[in-house]
């Protein structure tokens, strides 16, 4: 079917969104037992009777996870429940050890908040319905069959290491009034939430590792109508770009169905990264009834007001506030600032500055050479094998004149290649600038002798021609000379003024 264009869809319909984001907390142990949470461990090596749901086992709430939940709630401007309970969400699935998920239902730990996000310099307030605590399920790998899903698979492998990892689910209220910017608002919201989670230090929130996952609900209603249309829920959209694309696609798909006189089916959908489309999940014959009821194996969680206020005092500067401050401090345009944010470089740059580098140098390295390298390797900046302290050291070597830019890039290459810290790489590769005046003088003399024509032009006052001789000297010294000093020497020897 031909999709209605995005512009046409928006001309007739007003999109409404609801975003549900799951964040895996970075606690050392699981939500209800003492098992480790190390990512990538041997399958089923981080399990115990409780997270395997063995008969007789019981849960005990992880206090750190509750603390993280309260801090997230506070950072999202939520009210914190004085008393709340866990609830069981009952449904059968092979990777659910107990065939119920211990979650929260009508008594979430945090509720009624908001998060302000910026799209094209304008602030958009996303209202938060609730943030609640729950546990993750195990992980199924379906082997054989075309789709990688359970239906049609020959067999399935179950890894319960993830079962019981603490999750916080953050649910927005219906997001209305975003209009044509709905996909950008969705992306900006998830991006802002990710920054916030990272700033709180409660999770690395790396979407590519599934530490943060977004379900996007989209519905359309004819412009001017109040009643919401039927929604679709696109599950597990796992990058910022995908959030934007999935919402955009669903808006167009809904508009297409509606335009052709069809009706939208309330269903879950899967997003495909390759072509940016969604397809319907399995249609359920009957409505899911989770039979929620209060978890009788746990006692209520009752965060004291004193403790909540104490936690409020631990909140970091909010990312949005910090961005404004940083942008002003660094004197960046909105566009430049956006590049920094898109690259996920703001923390790295700040840490590099904290380690002693000038702000512009720190930004230049991370946004230039290092971004290029990260792009080449297809990884995030933070995944590069170089620390802000090391970048600051390279910068210091440039400032003190021991390295020029070209040499500095070689040092960085060495550090990324695992050759050691910047000083070790400088030492091993012999990358210090040649500052020995005698050696430089000889190289300059040789360059002048080899290029008499150029030398004459310079003697006649064509100072710009000196570039060719500088290049020759740099080549002869394998780049290890201070180009500015070389130029001075050439002009001096040829009696010209720079």
């Amino acid at each position: 079917m031909d999709l209605v264009s995005y512009e046409d869809a928006l001309a007739s319909y007003d999109p409404v969104m609801g975003l549900e984001v799951h964040v895996e907390l970075g606690t050392n142990t699981k939500m209800f037992c003492g098992c480790a949470t190390t990512f990538g461990a041997e399958p089923n090596s981080q399990v115990c009777p409780t997270c395997l749901g063995l008969p007789g086992s019981l849960p005990v709430v992880n206090a750190t996870a509750v603390e993280s939940a309260v801090r997230i709630g506070l950072a999202l401007n939520c009210e914190i429940a004085e008393w709340c309970r866990f609830a069981r969400k009952n449904y059968f699935y092979p990777d659910m050890p107990k065939n119920f998920q211990t979650s929260q239902y009508d008594e979430p730990i945090a509720f009624n908040g908001y998060l302000d996000v910026e799209v094209d310099g304008e602030t958009f307030r996303v209202e938060i319905e609730r943030a609640h605590m729950e546990e993750d399920t195990g992980k199924s790998t379906h082997v054989g069959g075309a789709t990688g899903r359970i239906h049609g698979a020959d067999h399935s492998l179950l890894d319960y290491n993830r079962a019981g990892i603490p999750l916080i689910e953050i649910v927005t209220k219906p997001i209305e009034g975003a209009g044509e910017r709905a996909p950008e608002v969705a992306k900006a919201y998830v991006a802002e939430l990710r920054e916030l989670i990272r700033a709180l230090g409660v999770s690395e929130a790396r979407m590519e590792l599934g530490q943060m996952r977004c379900d996007a609900n989209v519905s359309l209603r004819p412009i001017g109508r109040e009643k919401y249309g039927t929604r679709s829920e696109t599950k597990n959209v796992n990058s910022l770009r995908s959030v934007e694309r999935a919402v955009r696609f669903e808006i167009q798909r809904h508009a297409t169905v509606l335009k052709e006189g069809g009706t939208i089916v309330q269903e879950t959908r899967h997003f495909h990264e390759d072509d940016g489309t969604t397809t319907a999940g399995r249609v359920k014959e009957e409505a899911e009834d989770y039979r929620y009821f209060p978890e009788p194996d746990l006692v209520p969680v009752a965060p004291s007001r004193d403790w909540v206020e104490e936690l409020r005092g631990t909140l970091p500067e909010l990312p949005r506030v910090r961005r404004r401050r940083v942008q002003a401090d660094w004197g960046l345009s909105d566009h430049e600032m956006q590049s920094v944010l898109n690259a996920g470089a703001i923390d790295l740059i700040l840490e590099t500055i904290d380690a002693g580098a000038p702000a512009d140098a720190a930004r230049k390295w991370w946004m230039g050479e290092l971004s290029r390298r990260a792009n080449e390797d297809g990884v995030e900046l933070s995944a590069l094998a170089i620390t802000p302290t090391e970048v600051a050291r390279v910068s210091a070597l440039v400032v003190e004149g021991s390295l020029n830019d070209k040499l500095a890039r070689q040092v960085i290459e060495g550090v990324l290649g695992g050759e050691g810290d910047p000083d070790t790489v400088v030492e091993k590769r012999g990358l210090r600038i040649v500052s020995d005046e005698g050696a430089l003088g000889t190289a300059v003399d040789e360059a002048i002798a080899a290029n008499p024509g150029v030398a004459d032009k310079i003697r006649d006052g064509k100072v710009a021609a000196a570039g060719a001789l500088v290049g020759a000297v740099m080549k002869a010294t394998r780049g290890q000379a201070d180009a500015a000093r070389v130029k001075d020497l050439i002009l001096e020897k040829l009696g010209a003024q720079g």
Binding site: G53, L54, V60, K98, N99, I150, Y292, F293, V299
Partner: protein, 497 residues
Amino acid sequence: MSDLTRLTAAETAEAVASGKTSAVEVAEAHLARIDAVDEKVHAFLHVDREGALTAARAVDDKRAKGETLGPLAGVPLALKDVFTTRGIPTTVGSKILEGWIPPYDATLTRRLKEAGVVILGKTNMDEFAMGSSTENSAYGPTGNPWDLTRIPGGSGGGSSAALASYQAPLAIGTDTGGSIRQPAAVTGTVGVKPTYGAVSRYGLVAFSSSLDQGGPCARTVLDAALLHEVIAGHDALDSTSIDAPVPAVVEAAKLGNVKGMRIGVVKEFSGEGYQPGVEQRFREAVELLRELGAEVVEISCPSFTYALPAYYLIAPSEASSNLARFDAMRYGLRVGDDATHSAEEVTALTRAAGFGPEVKRRIMLGTYALSSGYYDAYYGQAQKVRTLITQDFARAFDQVDVLVSPTTPTTAFPIGERADDPMAMYLADLCTIPSNLAGNAAMSLPCGLAPEDGLPVGLQIIAPTMADDRLYRVGSAVEAAFTARWGHPLLEEAPSL
């Protein structure tokens, strides 16, 4: 020494500690008794001969080295097959867990082992503790030692029968709606449901989490108290475990004095449905309490009338969720895994084959009661009744120190009599259920034989939450007075097997 199986737990522990006998001799005597009579009684699902003798040897070694022994060191015990035992099968009376060997010990199991208690094996029970007769066990019924054609109570019929047939001086039960007290009543033994949260549920295979409570079973009140002190106490692995000192139950059992106590007779637990002989023996027990110096008053707890229906909504609701984990994916029975069935079908086939009819009935009841649209009318309403019952107890305990009632409306009924009539079966727990809903402590102990059938009648004593010591204080006084009147413990009137 003479027959070691006839000693009380306190006497056995003393004999081991003083060297009059050894723990190994005691264990061997009980294992021999099991060999001799359990074919007829069927109290045990699994006898752990090796484990029992190893544990007994460890106690003897400890004594030989001059180390101090705990108050129950070397005393044999029959453990209800609902608590996990590392390396020893745990079936919960169900086919669905046949062959499962738990990789971990329940907290209660660990405490028993640490105390030097010798676990003889695992006892029969109604499947998943759902029943009042042990007829719902997937492994066949247990006989009542007073009359092997009759039920030994349930769900903990294996434990009560083991005590009454001298196969063990101590046993463990769990009480969700009366599964410790009702078996004790119909076998002439002592059973205590401690305050909810007093004994850790970690490793207790759940039936109904908010009601289940492990507790001691014995032939004397003092023995029950000694066991109570070993198994009770805070456990960080059970969030509902009470973090407070265990009431001084042994001291109370030794005191055994009701002089000056105010005792309330629950008005609602009499009349229609109560066997005349049960009511007669109960009235005599009340009279005895008066003679012993207690002040007896009648107390009305009107909400107790609704306890049974509320229980049969709450317990099945929780069970429907607790039993969802038996899906053939990780342990236990697995049916249909032949490459032609999907995972969902394997789960369905396994549950169809592995659960018995009563368990299925309760899963369906609970699933229905929790369904959207019915939740408020059923589960929600039942929780409100629960609150009212708790308030009735609170009002009653403002006026009296303990309440008393018959433990069960009738004596042991014949095996098969109520098997096809769930409602009749459910009535066996009429008097015991309110304490599960409110979470307070209660005990059953013998108060004589019903004249019409010569079978034991149980007296129930009910105490407020965390006042478990009052049960022992009153129970011990009643036991001493009755024993003096009868000239011997009631159980000696049971036929020898």
